[in-house]
Each structure stands twice: as structure tokens, then as C-alpha cells.
């Protein structure tokens, strides 16, 4: 294995900038790694070595010609398969989109290309990002590089495992209720869900429009900061995108200082239901932050209790409408029943064959929640809870600059373990969902290994909307303290994967 692929993105871009390595060399090293391990890990749904290498060669040529390039030019990246790409199929993990090549690039993809980052491939996800394990991908689950019998988190298990297995230095994910943060937590990687509107959703195949947000996945905090700085910014194509810049995340990640910061521990997100190893590591990090000069305060968010219930009404409601466009008329799968079927029967047969069980479950839930007679009891009530949760956060941020909690109650579970129990699966997101409901940024940072199973756990940092920089500042500082104690990065504790062919 080339040592290059273990390096942080921040180091790689320095080497690229100095001309010590070429983008082709770096891209090839990652493609080789995928050849060696992705048969087992299954991070990618689609890879095309020639497109990635030609983008890399183009950057090398331009660099050789003395052109002034973007800071990250030449750094390969993986992209979640729910972002549209003109040169690769975009399936969102669904049979209904199998083989569909979009005629346009998502805004995030455009920014990546414009900066000269070769795209290594499209990463796996639960179908339409509905799930916490990638087990609902129509193309089979991804596996956790720490233990291949376990899930890599979801929905963005492709992006977390691709980074954790050194197949890519950085990746793009999307987070609707924890799809960046939960996978990061269970694979010992970093992931940030930016403030709602910080990154354009144009070209992101929508799950729930009011909750979805695109963000970075990496092996350390600074690398995520560099990627967020690349992809964030106003986009006229997304009317929910913020007009203003949130400043430099990379600068924040380089401060490495938490002195005087007020850090709030959320009372409701610990204790019962949280694995002991998760809680032990969390408490240690609270102490570390305190020792580093942060002021620790306890905050209460009493309405978080209702967050999952509200989320599982708002999300399916929006999803049921967003997914209506998959009707066989203009793109994607078309299944025509025997005989001389009407358009309604073709639509029904296509959706019956093209959508998987979790997608159907949520479409039915959402359709019901929006129906007249149900609306006020379900969707309407959920919107009220959403407001209450926003108020909880507003009150908590009066007392604290940053809030912290474990990212997830448990470490990675076994593949198949929760497949038949949707409610148990939904509970993985208990700590991550409130941030999506409130539109605030949330980051998961590696937080050590659980005593009982030796698997990674994550700590979640939350900040008020538009204050993503605080997460990068505290996250990077905590990461530095951890690495000083451990003597190496968290990811360096991961077992070596068996290398094939």
C-alpha cells in the first residue's frame, strides 16, 4: 500500500503544490487501493479510473504550465451517489435510477471540478438516503473497515467507509438526520453537516428538502474544513442557500484553542440507551475540554424527546412528494405491465418494482401524514415540535457557544441486526436529528474506542446557525488533544484490511 493514501488531505495538497507528487500518481494510488479492498468494503457504486486519471493529468499539465491553481487542485475526492454527475451514473442507491446519467452536474460537483479535484467515484448509500446502515441500498451494503461484519453507518456509509479504508482522502456526504455524522461516528472519521443553506442542494437528489444538507467527510477536522470551504457559498439555483459567506473553516480549524469557550453538555442526550463505552469516552472528552480552559455548562433541551417522532413525519411527508417525480415518464426505470396498460398502471408498476421496502414505507407514512384529516394531527403537529426544538437550541445557546453530545448511542452494529426493526434503526439518529430540524451545523469527531467492543465512537459538536467555524475550532482542538494522548490519529488504530488481487 502506498504510504501516500494514509496521509491527510492537508499534507497531500502541500505535496501537490510543491510538485513533490503528481495528481496522477496520487489518484492512481487511490484507485489501486480500491482494486485491493473495495471488493470487501463496497464503498463505491461506480468508479471510472479513466475519467479520474484524465482529470488528474489535466491538473498536472496545468500546474506544469505554471497556471495558478486552487489550493486543493489535484486532490482526489469521492462523491456520494445522490449528487448528479454528467460523467457517471447517479442512482441514489435505487433500482429506479439504475444506469441514469444526469445531463447536469450538481453545484457542489461543479465547484469540485472547477477547483480541479479528480472524482474517484460515486459512493454507496441507503436508497434515497433513507437508512442508517447502507443496508437499504438497492446495490448491497457497504461494510465497516474496522469490522467487515458491521455496518459503516448510513445513509452515507459509502463516503465514511471510503475514507476510513483509505480509498479516498476526502468525500462528500449529505445529512438529513445524521447521514454524515452517524457514519463518521462508527468509522472513526470526521463529518460535518453544515448550517442549512451553507452548501447548495442543487443537484442533490432530495430526500427531505427542509432537512437535507451537503457536507464533507474526512479523516481529520482540518481536511473537512478545507472541503467545506470549497463547496460552501451562495448558489442562485438554490433559493434556500444563504446569501452570505460563513468565513474560513480552515482558519478556524487551525486555531487549536478552546480557552474561555462555553461548552454545553446536553442533559437529554446521555445516560439511558447510550452504550457505556460511548459515555465513558464522552466524559473523558468533557474533562479534556475543561482542562484546556473551556467552561463546561449543563443545558437542557426538554423537547428533544419528541424529535424522532416529528422527524419521522416531516421527512416522509416531504419525501413522499419529492419522490413523486419517479414515474417512468421522463427518465429512469419503466416497467410496463402486460397488455395495454394505462399510464397510471405503468407508473404504479414502475414504482412497485423500482422502490425498495424502506422507501415504500416512508412514502406511505408521508402520504398519510399529509392527508386531509391527518395533516393537523401529524404534519402540523410535527412542525410545532420543530419550532419547540429550535427554541430549545436558542435557549441552550444563550448559555453555551457550542453544545456537545455523543454522536450516536452505540458503536457500529452487525449487518442484519436491526433490519427487521425499523424503530431500533431510527433510534440511532436520536442525537443527530435535532440539528437538522433546527437547521444548525453539527459535526462528529472521532472520540476513541469503546471499552466493550473496541469500536470507534464519535462526539458531536453543535453550534448556532452560521457558526460552523466554532465546530471546526473546537473539533480540531479536541482532535489535537486526543492525538497527543494517543500518539497517533484515531484512524491509525483501525485494523489492516486484507488486500486482494
Amino acid at each position: 500500500m502506498s504510504e501516500l493514501i494514509r496521509k491527510n488531505a492537508s499534507e497531500l495538497v502541500e505535496l501537490l503544490g510543491k510538485g513533490e507528487i503528481s495528481s496522477v500518481e496520487l489518484t492512481q494510488a487511490h484507485l489501486d487501493r480500491s482494486m485491493a479492498v473495495d471488493h470487501d468494503v463496497h464503498s463505491y457504486l461506480h468508479q471510472d479510473a479513466s475519467t479520474a486519471l484524465s482529470a488528474a493529468a489535466d491538473i498536472d499539465r496545468r500546474r506544469a504550465a505554471g497556471e495558478k491553481l486552487h489550493l486543493l487542485a489535484g486532490l482526489p475526492i469521492a462523491v456520494k451517489d445522490n449528487l448528479t454527475t454528467t460523467d457517471a451514473p447517479t442512482t441514489s442507491g435505487s433500482k429506479i435510477l439504475e444506469g441514469w446519467v444526469p445531463p447536469y452536474d450538481a453545484t457542489v460537483v461543479k465547484r469540485i471540478r472547477a477547483a480541479g479535484l479528480p472524482i474517484l467515484g460515486k459512493t454507496n448509500l441507503d436508497e434515497f438516503a433513507m437508512g442508517s446502515s447502507t443496508e437499504f441500498s438497492a446495490f448491497g451494503p457497504s461494510r465497516n473497515p474496522w469490522d467487515l461484519t458491521r455496518i459503516p453507518g448510513g445513509s452515507g456509509g459509502g463516503s465514511s467507509s471510503v475514507v476510513a479504508s483509505f480509498q479516498a482522502p476526502v468525500a462528500i456526504g449529505s445529512d438529513t438526520g445524521g447521514s454524515i455524522r452517524f457514519p463518521a461516528s462508527v468509522t472513526g472519521t470526521v463529518g460535518n453537516k453544515p448550517t442549512y443553506g451553507a452548501v447548495s442542494r442543487y443537484g442533490l437528489i432530495a430526500l427531505a428538502s427542509s432537512l437535507d444538507q451537503v457536507g464533507p467527510v474526512s479523516r481529520n477536522v482540518l481536511d473537512s474544513a478545507l472541503i467545506q470551504d470549497l463547496i460552501a457559498g451562495h448558489d442562485p439555483h438554490d433559493s434556500t442557500s444563504l446569501p452570505e459567506s460563513l468565513g474560513s473553516m480552515a482558519d478556524a480549524a487551525r486555531k487549536l484553542d478552546v480557552k474561555g469557550m462555553r461548552i454545553g453538555v446536553i442533559k437529554e442526550l446521555m445516560g439511558e440507551g447510550f452504550q457505556p463505552g460511548v459515555m465513558n469516552r464522552f466524559k473523558e472528552s468533557v474533562n479534556l475540554l475543561q482542562q484546556a480552559g473551556a467552561e463546561i455548562v449543563e443545558v437542557s433541551c426538554p423537547n428533544f424527546e419528541y424529535a424522532i417522532a416529528a422527524y419521522y413525519l416531516i421527512l416522509p411527508a416531504e419525501a413522499s412528494s419529492n419522490l413523486a417525480k419517479f414515474d417512468s415518464v421522463r427518465f429512469g426505470l419503466r416497467v410496463a405491465p402486460e397488455g395495454n396498460p394505462t399510464i397510471e398502471r405503468v407508473m404504479a408498476a414502475t414504482r412497485e418494482a423500482g422502490f425498495g421496502p424502506e422507501v415504500k414505507r416512508r412514502i406511505i407514512l408521508g402520504t398519510y401524514a399529509l392527508s386531509s384529516g391527518s395533516y393537523e394531527h401529524f404534519y402540523g403537529a410535527a412542525l410545532k415540535v420543530r419550532t419547540l426544538i429550535q427554541r430549545d437550541f436558542a435557549a441552550a445557546f444563550e448559555k453555551a457557544d457550542v453544545l456537545i453530545s455523543p454522536t450516536a448511542p452505540t458503536t457500529a452494529f452487525k449487518i442484519g441486526e436491526k433490519l427487521e426493526d425499523p424503530l431500533a434503526m431510527y433510534l440511532n439518529d436520536i442525537a443527530t436529528i435535532p440539528a437538522n430540524l433546527a437547521g444548525i451545523p453539527g459535526m462528529s469527531v472521532p472520540n476513541g474506542l469503546a471499552d466493550e467492543d473496541g469500536l470507534p465512537v464519535g462526539i458531536q459538536l453543535l453550534a448556532p446557525a452560521r457558526e460552523d467555524a466554532r465546530l471546526y475550532q473546537v473539533g480540531a482542538a479536541l482532535e489535537k488533544m486526543h492525538e497527543d494522548i494517543w500518539g497517533k490519529r484515531m484512524i491509525d488504530f483501525a485494523p489492516e484490511l486484507e488486500v486482494r488481487g
Binding site: P102, S210, S320, S321, R330
Partner: protein, 500 residues
């Protein structure tokens, strides 16, 4: 189509009170569509004005067209509506192949404009103050063409084609509150209301307002109730009636049809109905209930439209005159008799005559050309007079050429056909084709002499005061000069000659 039993109209009105409600869809003439940058253009090759947004490809997002919002606010203001400080879009969910997203982005409980009124005056002199419930923004659907089958409808078709050029074209839907008390004039009032809406949107310049192209479409709700009953009767909604005449006929038909059913004790089915211009009848569409479940919810992909007070006031300042005020003003300015003016209004010629007068024509001359010769030509071509390819300036020029004696009536009509044929302005045509009236005395005298040579008695007759004898010579001169002689001048010269 089964033939409906109809009740005599007068009898229907004796038995029942008519309540109507009108929903008018106005297609805005913005350069681009409501939520994307595609051209908003009628008649282009199918599926050429489309993009990932308006054909709803996965990942695409809408962005609101600012001009469409301003146009909608202007329409709201022209209808004396309140303008919402927070106008939210909503999704109206239903599956149909012309609706790319399978939901229509519309407005539901927070329309951009609400609580307005429009005064409509009928030729009888009755004045109706129509209450406007709301005017909201939404997008048009694509256009389906059903191939095979006999009806041209989706039922029985072999297959259907979809053209998404119209998908996402901005619409404003204007909804009235129930309109009471029009009695026998209800059909006429319905048409007059839509005419006023057309005038307003045309005057604002926000729509091409051509009903034949579907720029303005009306759904007419009609219900009957026994006189004195408070509870409204069951209504039908006749969809997409695409001319003013059809609106009037469709409403009248529904009154007669419903009255016949109610008189027999048969309940009216709440449904949409289709108007068939050829048969002069409506037919049942789909059943419609108030409980139709479109699962409306706020559109999460769009932030609410929040027009500033400054914007609203600047749009208000630019509002044109109200149709009723304008009519009063121009009728007085032009000095038209009531009957003359009614013809002009009914023929939708206010704009044309105003433009013609503004270009220098005398009002009566403008009226005569538009309601006379031009209306006749349009009629012979089975067109609406407003569709003729001629500007008010051209008509004005024609009247001025006639006034100046350069054209006589016959020549002017001839020049008009060349203008309509696209040959240019009247003066250009006159000089290019050499059509000017001959007033060169030398040529006229020569022609008069030639005519007198054949009718030598005429000069004596004139001297004796028998002026009618002059007619034969004038006619001969006109004939000799192929109609291009100035008949008045010929007469003068003839008299001079007799008295010389």
C-alpha cells in the same frame, strides 16, 4: 354524448337564483418560466424550451422568477387586493403525466394577493361589484396530445405525447367569491368579467391575454338555488372555456341544464364539465368533491416571497387606469354614442381605436375602419379582428390619406388589403403601386373632354341646373381613370367648364 334536457331560460330564472363563481388563469408573458431560465414562448417545437428544472429531473430545484412575482403583485393591486407580506408557495400533489414533478408548485393558504374587488358594468347599465377572493401564483403544466381513439381525450387513446414547453410557465389564478344577483345577466356578466380581467392584464402588459392561445382561461362555476334559499346549490365547474362568447354560452347552458334536472327532483352532481363549442353543450368530466385531497404542504424548496412596501408602492404607482374608468373617459373623449361604443367594447377594439386615435386619426374614422372594413375582412378570414396584422398607426395613416384627398374610399380599401398583406405602410404602398388619386387637372380635363365628346348635351343640362346629368360624365371619367380620379375635383372642373 347524451343530449341534456334544457329548461326554457326565462322559466329557469323564474324558478331559481343563479350563483356563479369564476376562476381565471392568466398566463404571464415573462421572458422566462416561473422557476427556471427556459424561454416562455408559445408555439415553439415541442420540448425545446425545457431544462432539468421544468422536466423535474432528480436534484433540480426551483428559483422564483422575480418579474413573475412583480406581475402577480400588479394584477393583485389592479384588482384592489391586499398584498401578502409573506407569500408562501405550496405543493399541490397529484399524479398526472403533464405534471413533471407530479406536484404543482402553487400557493395555498398564503396567496400573494387577496380580498379585492372589480367593478363590471353591463351594456344594460347594471353595475356589478365582483368580490375577488384571491389571486395566486402557480405554474402551468405541460401539454398532452392524445393519439388514436375518437375523442382526442386520454380515455381510449392509443398513446399520448407530452410537450413540456408550457410546463412551468407562470400563471396567476384569480378566484372570485360567489357572485349573486346577476339574474338573467349572469352569463353576460361572466363574459364581461373575463373581458375586464383581460383588459387589466393587457393594460398592465403582464400577459398577451389571447384567449385563443390559452393566455387567459376561465373555469366557470355555476349553481342554482330556489329563490329565498340560503344554502348554496351544488355547483359544476366548466373548465377552460376559451372565448368570451363560449363563457356566456356555457354559463347559460349550465343554468338551463341544471334547472331542468332540479325541476325533476334530480340532484346536481358536483363535477367538472367540458364545454363543446361545436355542439353548444357541456359534458361531464370527472367528479369533483370538496374533499379532493391534494395533500398541500408548504414548498420547502422555496423561501417565502416577501415583497417590500417600497416595491408594492412602486408597482401601485405604475398601475394603469381601471377598465370602467377608462371606458367612461374614452367614450367621452371620442364622443361615441352609447350604441357605437358598445359595439367597440363588444368587439374588443378599445386598444386598437385608442392606438389609432393616438396616431392621429379622427375617432369616428378610426371606429368606422375597425368595426367596418377591418371587421368584415377578419370575419371573411374567420379571425378575430384583433388578430389582423395591422397597427393603429397604419389605420390612422390611411384615414389621413383619405382626409387629404389622396385616397378615395375604394382606393383606401385596396391599400388596406396590401397593408394586411405585409407590403408596408399605406404611404409606402401608395407610392410603390402608384395608387394615388389623380388630381392633376390636365389629366382630368383631358378625360372630361373625352367623356363630353360622347355626351355633348351634358354641359347644357348643367347650365340649366340639372346637376344629376353631371353624374354620367363623372362616372365615365372615373371609369376611364380606373377609379383613381378625385371625383370631387372632376365635378368642380365640369361645372367650371359649363360656366365658362
Amino acid at each position: 354524448m347524451a343530449k341534456d334536457e334544457l329548461m326554457n331560460y326565462e322559466k329557469a330564472l323564474e324558478m331559481f337564483e343563479v350563483v356563479i363563481g369564476l376562476e381565471v388563469h392568466v398566463e404571464l408573458n415573462t421572458k422566462t418560466k416561473m422557476f427556471c431560465g427556459c424561454r416562455n414562448e408559445f408555439g415553439d417545437e415541442p420540448n425545446t424550451n425545457v431544462c432539468p428544472i421544468c422536466i423535474a429531473l432528480p436534484g433540480a430545484l426551483p428559483a422564483v422568477n422575480r418579474t413573475a412575482v412583480e406581475s402577480s403583485i400588479s394584477i393583485g393591486l389592479a384588482l384592489d387586493c391586499e398584498i401578502a407580506s409573506n407569500g408562501r408557495f405550496a405543493r399541490k400533489n397529484y399524479f398526472y403525466p403533464d405534471l413533471a414533478k407530479n406536484f404543482q408548485t402553487s400557493q395555498y393558504d398564503e396567496p400573494i394577493a387577496f380580498e379585492g374587488a372589480l367593478t363590471v358594468e353591463l351594456p344594460s347599465g347594471s353595475v356589478h361589484n365582483i368580490q375577488i377572493e384571491r389571486a395566486h401564483m402557480e405554474e402551468d403544466a405541460g401539454k398532452l396530445t392524445h393519439i388514436g381513439g375518437s375523442t382526442g381525450r386520454i380515455q381510449g387513446a392509443e398513446y399520448s405525447l407530452v410537450d413540456y414547453n408550457r410546463a412551468g410557465v407562470p400563471l396567476v389564478e384569480i378566484v372570485t367569491k360567489p357572485v349573486y344577483g346577476a339574474g338573467a345577466e349572469a352569463p353576460e356578466l361572466a363574459a364581461a368579467y373575463v373581458r375586464s380581467i383581460r383588459e387589466i392584464v393587457k393594460g398592465l402588459g403582464v400577459s398577451d391575454a389571447k384567449m385563443e392561445r390559452g393566455n387567459v382561461r376561465c373555469d366557470a362555476n355555476v349553481s342554482l338555488r330556489p329563490h329565498g334559499q340560503e344554502k348554496l346549490g351544488t355547483r359544476t365547474e366548466t373548465k377552460n372555456v376559451n372565448s368570451l362568447r363560449s363563457i356566456e354560452r356555457a354559463v347559460r347552458y349550465e343554468i338551463q341544464r341544471q334547472a331542468a334536472l332540479l325541476a325533476k327532483g334530480t340532484a346536481i352532481i358536483q363535477e367538472t364539465r367540458h364545454w363543446h363549442e361545436d355542439k353548444g353543450a357541456t359534458s361531464a368530466g370527472r367528479p369533483k368533491s370538496d374533499a379532493d385531497d391534494y395533500r398541500y404542504f408548504p414548498e420547502p424548496d422555496l423561501v417565502p416571497v416577501q415583497p417590500s412596501k417600497e416595491l408594492i408602492e412602486s408597482l401601485r404607482a405604475k398601475l394603469p387606469e381601471k377598465p370602467a374608468d377608462r371606458r367612461k373617459r374614452v367614450q367621452a373623449e371620442w364622443g361615441f354614442a352609447d350604441l357605437e361604443f358598445r359595439d367597440v367594447v363588444n368587439a374588443d377594439l378599445l386598444d386598437q381605436i385608442e392606438e389609432t386615435v393616438r396616431a392621429g386619426a379622427k375617432p369616428q374614422a378610426a371606429r368606422k375602419w375597425w368595426t367596418g372594413e377591418l371587421a368584415r375582412i377578419a370575419n371573411s378570414q374567420d379571425k378575430d379582428v384583433t388578430e389582423l396584422e395591422i397597427s393603429g398607426a397604419h389605420v390612422a395613416e390611411l384615414t389621413q390619406l383619405v382626409d387629404a384627398g389622396k385616397l378615395n374610399d375604394r382606393l383606401a380599401r385596396e391599400v388596406l388589403t396590401y397593408v394586411l398583406g405585409g407590403e408596408g405602410s399605406p404611404s409606402e404602398i401608395v407610392s410603390a403601386r402608384g395608387l394615388e388619386v389623380v388630381s392633376d387637372d390636365g389629366a382630368l380635363i383631358a378625360a372630361i373632354d373625352a367623356a363630353l365628346a360622347k355626351q355633348p348635351d351634358v354641359l347644357d343640362a348643367i347650365r340649366e341646373g340639372r346637376m344629376q346629368a353631371a353624374g354620367a360624365v363623372i362616372g365615365a371619367v372615373m371609369q376611364a381613370m380606373k377609379g383613381s380620379a378625385d371625383a370631387g375635383r372632376v365635378r368642380e372642373l365640369l361645372i367650371e367648364k359649363a360656366n365658362a
